[in-house]
Point group: C2
Chain length 319, copies 2
């Protein structure tokens, strides 16, 4: 997750020349930073350089990334008319530059390195659309959901339709897996998730072209794991708040991804290696464990510690 | 939690005259807002008007509350010398104004209304001390913990010693229960909680004067519940992210408090009543359930909806 990012000086050099959205939309640049990050770090899989929110633009929202504040939506969804105006069936490929970057990256990467495509999941995208950006308590989002369930479901249906198009376009373009980021869904109670979100995530996952595994990811989802599995996916992403063994026992037969705390990458090699060993021991070398962080690499992370982590995982895990 | 707060216009009127810390330190004013909130809302218990961070001042930290940004510590803990300078045994009563407010409030409240005292728990207090205020990722806190475990434990021992003094002073002054707020402990993995936090919370709880129940509260603690119980407390606080029935089954024989999402108070009476009914049904009228929100009342909450909630709980719960 976030393999290419501000924690790498080579990435910052590219960003000094181009703003974030330009970088996402330029297939050559997106290819360059994706391949550079994967090769420099020596990871077992590459994730395409892109953003979970890009699909908002072809749906009709004004998306900008401000320094320090993250994404801002210029025309957030507040009223019935906003939902009605949203476009959900856009084109055969709503984000052609992502598809182009995937095709180029696939050609540039070693054949044995799988490439992962992705998008935000319906709830997380709806939260950005309604809040107009990031949020702490998701009050506007939940108000929309609680007081206008009819509109909420209409909104999530439109988002889902657009998501199915972009994820299938990514699959057609050559990714070996797709990851659905429901990054903020952990703000919901299990009852609310089941009622307001699950049917939509399920529809998206069931509508994807077969043959490509789906990684279903969220944070703070410790109480939602069984429901995330029910919504679908071949791999369930776990954040660091859960014991990986206990979570896997609850989930049963399914692959898992996780779950080291990204802040550990600010510590030192002794502590990183100790915690990698702990997680691998908890996972008991069971097949179907994709070692990963529990969330994205944080901007100020020392890149050398990321390399320590990757070396440690390769050294200590069953090959 | 946060019975008296910015969501009440009478409280805002008092705050217009006095800043937050003045209000906390003036026993007459603290008594007034505590009693007013409890009587106006018609709750079954009152929580003393105070703050989880007040103990930081007698320990030697400079505490201020800035508009919109919350608490700020002027001299945060960053180095070994900062930990050494911290005072941990201060006086028989490190916060005499809290004790005075408790005595006055106890006299002013109806005898059948229990009064709850509280403080922040060791981890949550340490996080404010190290970050210098609120935090999103707790990077400085975790770095301190991961790279200097010796200093970390020394810091938490000092915090714990001070906490034991203030909580026992509150008990002596006449509260009927105390609540330990480990509000941000949910940012930790279970392994880190067990290693870095549990022994300290346990020591605090075991050192409290007997006869007064302890409510042990945190948020995002879905994976930590068994460990919170092991650390101690007669009541475990649950946030809304967990199904109350499933959590209670895991916890076994212990009282629980929770767990409605505070953002629901921005919705309407239909939705509030529906969710109160759901939570009460999940709790199955089992004795030992204290109905509460899963976290504090948010500042912009409509006060009428808080009253709707309290009415609904009284009407629908077994008496």
């Amino acid at each position: 997750m976030r393999q290419a990012g501000r924690y790498m000086k080579e990435y910052r050099a590219v960003r000094a020349q181009h703003d974030f959205l330009t970088l996402c939309k330029d297939a050559d640049l997106a290819t360059e930073v994706t391949v550079y990050a994967a090769e420099t770090l020596g990871v077992d899989a590459a994730i395409i350089f892109s953003d979970i929110l890009l699909i908002l633009e072809p749906m009709g929202l004004k998306l900008a990334y401000t320094q320090g504040e993250g994404p801002v939506i210029g025309n957030p969804i507040r009223h019935e008319r906003d939902v009605k105006k949203l476009k959900s069936v856009i084109a055969k490929d709503p984000l052609p530059f992502v598809s182009a970057a995937i095709r180029q990256t696939r050609r540039a990467l070693k054949p044995e390195i799988p490439l992962i495509g992705f998008s935000g999941a319906p709830f997380t995208l709806a939260s950005y659309m309604i809040e107009g950006g990031g949020s702490r308590h998701f009050i506007k989002t939940k108000m929309f959901m609680y007081t206008r369930p009819d509109l909420w479901h209409a909104l999530l249906q439109k988002i889902s339709a657009a998501l199915i198009q972009t994820l299938n376009a990514q699959i057609t373009s050559g990714v070996q897996a797709v990851q659905l980021f429901d990054s903020w869904v952990g703000c919901l109670s299990p009852a609310d998730y089941a009622q307001y979100v699950l049917p939509h995530s399920q529809r998206v996952i069931q509508s994807l072209k077969p043959g490509v595994p789906v990684i279903h990811f969220g944070t703070q989802t410790e109480s939602l794991l069984e429901l995330l599995k029910k919504a679908g996916g071949d791999v369930i992403g776990l954040d660091w708040r859960v014991n990986i063994k206990a979570a896997w026992q609850r989930l049963g037969t399914i692959a898992i991804q996780g779950n080291m705390d990204p802040t550990l990458l600010f510590s030192n090699s002794t502590e990183i290696r100790r915690q990698v060993r702990r997680i691998l021991q908890e996972a008991e070398n069971r097949p179907g464990h994709i070692f990963n962080l529990g969330h994205g690499v944080l901007p100020q992370t020392p890149v050398d510690n990321v390399k320590v982590l990757i070396e440690a995982v390769k050294e200590m895990s069953a090959r």
